[in-house]
Symmetry: C2
Subunit: 323 residues, 2 copies
């Protein structure tokens, strides 16, 4: 049982990361209006958010630029159109998705408004992820390594991967519950597994949670209580499938007075509700629960919902056979 004080006090070392454009972009193919992105940027400044993820920097050799909004590619020029030179306390992040990125798209930090490069990788791509981390760090960026879909990995493979990444200049290693399949009391053990390695190297830990079992917020605050400092959230939980930890819940929970709930609520009212009204769909739903429970990628659930099916029981039985 944790100490009462840990709920009432706060750690200066906590970093609140807004991932709305990046994980939320997976819902609407990154077609956010400039007004939305400008409002989000100002809201993050006003709410005391520490980092704003502007999107993926995906390679145009891999993805057709005409099929996505610009935040899938997130050039320095795109970012400058919103933030100018970003003379604020809010730091900016972009994500490099291993296998879908090109490290030549990343200029020297001194020429870029970006502060942080987040490197997303599956465990079998770790050598390429390390190459990317080292390149970005050498160019002057802060870096994180987000090892995805860990709930499907063998524990020893995961330990080896974490150890390898710890030997790079990486600043933060993220626990990523891609499938929303981890329960809070398991999460406490996962943190323990990571921290046993990262603490030896002085690396920070982060958490990126999904809401398939309505546990994204619960898992995030579980991790926070277990000493994880970097906390991802998105406004109204916007993100692929069941979505993520909600920014409103997390800013309500965090006790550091620099975090403000009011701007978060204003942004939801002005910019998120219109998205919902336009029919952009994300959040907890039965098919996402099924993939979360069965520790599977949500792609079949996304298709199920797109097909307007509601034969949940048949879907569950199909998934059981596949699993």
């Amino acid at each position: 049982m944790k100490e009462v004080g840990s709920l009432l006090s706060y750690r200066e070392s906590i970093k609140l990361v807004d991932a709305t454009l990046r994980d939320g972009g997976l819902v609407n193919d990154f077609f956010f209006t400039d007004e939305f992105v400008k409002d989000l940027y100002q809201t993050n400044i006003d709410a005391g958010v520490d980092y704003m993820e502007m999107g993926y920097r995906a390679s145009k050799k891999v993805f057709d630029e005409s099929k996505f909004g610009k935040w899938k590619f997130c050039s320095d020029d795109h970012i400058r159109e919103i933030v100018g030179e970003n003379d604020t306390n809010l730091k900016l992040a972009i994500m490099a998705d291993i296998g879908r990125h090109d490290k030549n798209d990343f200029d020297e930090k001194v020429n870029s408004p970006v502060d942080l490069v987040r490197v997303a990788t599956y465990i079998h791509q770790i050598p390429e992820a390390i190459d990317m981390i080292e390149d970005a760090a050498k160019k002057g960026y802060e870096t994180t390594c987000n090892i995805m879909a860990i709930s499907t990995n063998q524990e020893n493979d995961l330990k080896a991967a974490i150890d390898m990444v710890c030997q790079t200049p990486v600043d933060v290693i993220y626990i990523v519950d891609s499938f929303g399949s981890i329960y809070p009391e398991e999460m406490a053990r996962v943190v323990d597994l990571y921290a046993n390695i990262t603490s030896k190297y002085g690396k920070k830990l982060g958490i990126h949670a999904h809401n398939n079992q309505q546990l994204a917020f619960a898992n995030t605050i579980e991790c926070c209580g277990d000493g994880v400092d970097w906390l991802d959230a998105t406004y109204m939980g916007m993100g692929r499938g069941a979505g993520n930890c909600s920014m409103e819940l997390l800013t309500g929970f965090l006790k550091n007075p620099k975090y403000k709930l009011n701007p978060v609520l204003k942004f939801i009212e002005k910019d998120m509700m219109p998205l919902k009204e336009q029919g952009v769909v994300w959040g907890y739903d039965i098919p996402y629960f099924v993939t979360g429970l069965l520790n599977q990628h949500p792609r079949t659930a996304i298709q199920f919902i797109k097909d307007k099916r509601s034969d949940y029981s048949e879907y569950y039985n199909d998934m059981l056979i596949e699993g």
Copy 2:
């Protein structure tokens, strides 16, 4: 940190309680069709649910019978129309809401299909609750005591109340997070407070959670891991305001093979989706988060939503001033 085994094994002593008709009835004034109630009854049998709460047995002297569906009053005759003599392993419960009940409406157990009387009380009504518990127990019913809105009570008052109730024949004392304001790590401390008293008297503990901060399921499984045996859930989380712990999540989580997810999903598909399509509204929403965060009754949030308002920030500021 809990033991891994506790997640993989199961306790025979766990009881799964379906509260859909009762807490869900608060959303639609108890106007469920007989077909819905019959399907729910059969689903609970098939899914291995231990108790089904049929509704409130509210006094007709307090409420106008013409304004509510029959499950607000839940006579033995109403129940028999659905279950006959209920020759199954599923036990039946009804709720007596202190101050709105009449103990003369409760026949001897031997004449009733009801097995369990759940006594809902605020802390200042404890003497009347004790009177009701003693009366019901004498008539042959199992009993629980559900002390509501505990997040607003002084700890010493709560301890005194628990101790008083423990001196009755009550079987189970429920932890009720009426406002959905308790975080899981606080919940662990609340369980500790209750268990320190109830264990001396050999009483069981139960949990009834609300989803204002997307924590109903997380708090329920936190309690389960802390030794609480009686777990309330409702299908799709149907319940007042932000609703409750979802039956599908909980049957997915519980490891006792008698609990089956498939019937739960079938019922959702056939009976719950039509309710949603008819415009019956419950579940997590920003105003419920605000009342949960501020530890207040959801009535202002329910009104806010009924009025189709979306000025969340202004609402939050108003609530701050009131609180």
